[in-house]
Amino acid sequence: MSAVIQPAKAPGTADTPRETSGTRLAVRRFLRNRLAVAGLGVVLFFVLFCFVGPLVYSTDQTHTALDQVNLAPSGTHWLGTDAVGHDELGRLMYGGKVSLIVGLAAGALATVIGTLWGAVAGYAGGWIDAVMMRIVDAGIAIPALFILLVVSAITTPGLPGLILILGLVSWLVPSRLIRAETLTLKNRDYVLTLRAIGGTHARAILRHILPNSVSTIIVATTFQIADAILLVAYVSYLGLGVQPPATDWGGMLSAGLTAAYSGYWWLILPPGLAIILVVWAFNAIGDGLRDAFDVRGRG
């Protein structure tokens, strides 16, 4: 039966001083969440793996080696080679760099756009809010993958273009979150007090609403990065990704798809698992941050 019972705050906090500050408490809560800490470890590992790894384990990722294609893992090629003779482990580092950079940048971009849009809509209210949110509704009604495919039919973007496009299709969900947050914050007593004594809107937004949205924004960014890395994988699968000889994990995975039926497992499992691990890690960190900050976020 103890299962129904929720832990409660100790009674009597109303007029007894609390001893710990919010941020320190949040950090402590986060560190106690084992899944979140594991996620942090995974992210750190992959950052080292992709950015420091090539210095230790150096491979040729520009020239094809058609005399040694689709080799099984061995002492010389720890994870074998791919269809044009690239060392698969080296390629995993090389492609991971692209996946991580695009994912982080696109996730951050989406959160920035979403935060500004949501904050303006929520703070302005009225018809401005209504129009801005209908635009968000319309954007959400068109699945991102469809937009990306249409774009791929029109043009083949470079890396910055890819980041921009991914950012532009994924800011909608964070904008909703931040709008909801702004709606609550703008009616907080300290904002009302400021406005009653003649404080400006700018001050209310910059000094109160944005600083108090920080935890929500951080949590949103983490989930957004997870989503962006996943989206990068789809994008390459759909043929919009970075062009050869450059690659990313999604590109490696889709290149290895046909090989999978021939039993070349080393061409799909490593990039597949890498995507899953990194995306899982960012989601676990996001879950941990959300619980630690005690903010509302996804699921």
């Binding site: 039966m1 103890s2 019972i5 929720q6 832990p7 409660a8 705050k9 100790a10 009674p11 009597g12 906090t13 109303a14 007029d15 007894t16 001083p17 609390r18 001893e19 710990t20 500050s21 919010g22 408490l25 402590r28 809560r29 907080r188 007593d189 300290y190 009302l192 007090t193 400021l194 406005r195 009653a196 004594i197 003649g198 404080g199 400006t200 001050r203 000094r207 109160h208 600083p211 108090n212 920080v214």
Partner: protein
């Protein structure tokens, strides 16, 4: 147990017996003892009030007696209900007991009921938990119960969802669930705290009647001494997890023996009431020292014929309807009323936070609607604001120093950092907070300290008008007393005018020179506090005053009889 108990109820065996009960909470950082060695008894037909301030552990005792403690709480000792020890009982045993032998009424009627289940069904569920009753019979009994707790048209209302009922009606439904199986013991945890004072009186009448009908023992948990005086036979006073004093209601409230009880009772604001023969009451309201201007001086704020309408068409809500108010320099105007009366809306209109649909607001002689934004902002530097919720009042991301300095940053931009620090320290001295508090975070402060920080922020610009919206309602009485004292002293010293919004008539009577009573968006009557609250002109104000329970069991008994007689007369009058 003490000797007073044995004499109070000699015959029957106690229905509830707590013996050396301890409850410890495990929090993220430590183990907090909430209840320490509490022993008490409730006998059939008697009401024991467990009183104390927040954090005293009184609600934890109630939950422990129901076996409803949170998962991180551990109880030791004994809590025996009708022969069963609740501490250590298994869940099946507890379920068999709850709702049949012992029931509970909770503080918050807004959330106590399942929002998606019709109320008749929720009552029927309790009935069917404890007897082989058909759904149809249970539904019929649920309708009977709704009638017993005074819900009009019970057949129809049984099909209503909780959101379709008012707060008072919801609490009646919770009570109906509690009495569904005629329990021997009823535990009521602050059953009227969330309700308006007139509704509180009705709910207390209902509980008293039901308990008397079935000789149910009642454990009443409350912080309100008036409610204790109105309802309890015996009182146990809790302080820091322990019971410090137990006795009959007359003994504890009129002749308290423990020092804490005496201090607590001294802090309770008492409503002065006119004696039946019309002579002046014993306790005098705040005297009019004449320092405030007479009617001749120009008002600091004036609301003229203000109406506020939210929404349009059929769903429009008239929050204010033709409200006119004046606050003159140096005086305090108390704005009282029940929830939904529009008192907070009126304060917000005065603050310029809500634009009136019609009517004019003038602040320091200037019409707010006609001033331009820059000039209007300058005008507003003459206002200080303190709102109700001590937690929401301060931005948790700022330090106390930054919070207090914010008005200076808005209106005195020329100040150097050092001058600013000087002003902040000076105003903290005034509200009697230590200077080193500036570096603390609001989250580290107690509720009373936070309200003083809000007050410091409100006064740092030396305003001509302080608008205080229920500034002490979230505080314990002892803290409320000290905060009100600070405001009074500073007002004498600095001479600002004050618009003081409160639901608490006793507080307003002590604090305000003039009072305006609001009801449903209109001003019912206004005048000098000493006259209006002693000899009200309207029926509504009379009813409002009559519903306030005073913390003296003898006086309160007389007031209750008088109020019920008036009600009965009104009813027969209406029927005739």
């Amino acid at each position: 147990m003490t000797a007073t108990q044995a004499s109070a109820a000699p015959a029957a065996e106690p229905i509830l017996e707590l013996d050396d009960l301890d409850v410890v909470f495990t929090t993220e950082s430590s183990k907090v003892p909430a209840v320490r060695g509490v022993s008490l008894q409730v006998r059939p037909g008697e009401t024991l009030a467990l009183v104390g301030e927040s954090g005293s552990g009184k609600s934890t005792v109630a939950l422990a007696a129901m076996g409803l403690l949170a998962g991180n709480a551990r109880a030791t000792g004994r809590a025996v209900i009708d022969g069963t020890d609740i501490v250590g009982a298994d869940e099946a045993g507890l379920a068999a007991l709850r709702g049949r032998t012992v029931s509970m009424v909770f503080q918050e009627p807004a959330t106590a009921l399942d929002p998606l289940t019709r109320i008749g069904k929720q009552i029927a569920e309790v009935i069917r938990n404890h007897g082989d009753v058909s759904a149809k019979d249970a539904a019929a009994r649920a309708v009977d119960l709704l009638r017993r707790v005074g819900i009009p048209e019970p057949e129809k209302r049984a099909a209503a969802y909780p959101f379709q009922l008012s707060g008072g009606q919801r609490q009646r439904v919770v009570i109906a669930m509690a009495i569904a199986n005629d329990p021997a013991l009823l535990i009521a945890d602050e059953p009227t705290t969330a309700l308006d004072v007139t509704v509180q009186a009705e709910i207390l009448d209902l509980l008293r009647r039901l308990a008397a009908e079935t000789r149910t023992g009642v454990l009443l948990v409350t912080h309100n001494m008036g409610v204790v005086a109105d309802f309890a036979d015996r009182v146990a006073v809790m302080y820091q997890g322990r019971i410090v004093e137990t006795g009959t209601v007359e003994d504890v409230l009129l002749r308290p023996s423990h020092d804490y009880t005496r201090r607590l009772l001294a802090a309770v604001p008492r409503l002065s009431v006119a004696e039946p023969d019309g002579r002046a009451p014993a306790g005098d309201p705040r005297p009019d020292d004449g320092s405030g201007g007479g009617d001749a001086t120009a008002p600091v704020v004036e609301l003229r014929d203000i109406s506020v309408v939210f929404g349009r068409g059929k769903r429009a809500v008239h929050a204010l309807d033709g409200v006119s108010l004046v606050v003159r320099p140096g005086e305090t105007l108390g704005l009282v009323g029940e929830s939904g009366s529009g008192k907070s809306t009126a304060a917000r209109v005065a603050l310029g936070l809500i634009p009136p649909t019609s009517g004019t607001v003038s602040l320091f002689g200037a019409d707010l609607a006609r001033t331009r934004s820059r000039a209007r902002r300058a005008l507003r530097s003459g206002i200080g604001v303190v709102l109700q919720d001590p937690v929401a009042a301060l931005d948790a991301r700022m330090t106390v120093g930054e919070c207090v300095a914010e008005p200076l940053r808005v209106h005195r931009r020329g100040l150097s950092a050092q001058e600013r620090r000087g002003r902040v320290e000076a105003v903290l001295d005034r509200v009697r907070l230590p200077r080193d508090i500036v570096r603390r975070a609001p989250g580290e402060l107690s509720g009373g300290q936070r309200q003083r920080v809000s007050l410091a922020r409100a006064l740092v610009l030396e305003p001509r008008l302080l608008v205080a919206d229920e500034p002490t309602s979230a505080l314990d009485v002892s803290v409320q007393e000290s905060v009100l004292k600070v405001i009074t002293e500073l007002q004498d010293e600095l001479g600002f005018a004050c618009l003081f919004v409160s639901h608490d008539l006793a507080v307003v009577q002590q604090f305000a020179r003039r009072v305006a009573v609001m009801r449903a968006g209109r001003i019912e009557e206004q005048g000098l506090t000493g006259e209006t609250l002693l000899h009200p002109e309207t029926d509504y104000t009379r009813r409002l005053l009559a519903a306030v329970p005073v913390p003296d069991p003898v006086v309160q008994r007389g007031r209750r009889a008088e109020r019920l007689a008036t009600l009965a007369a009104g009813r027969t009058g209406a029927e005739a």
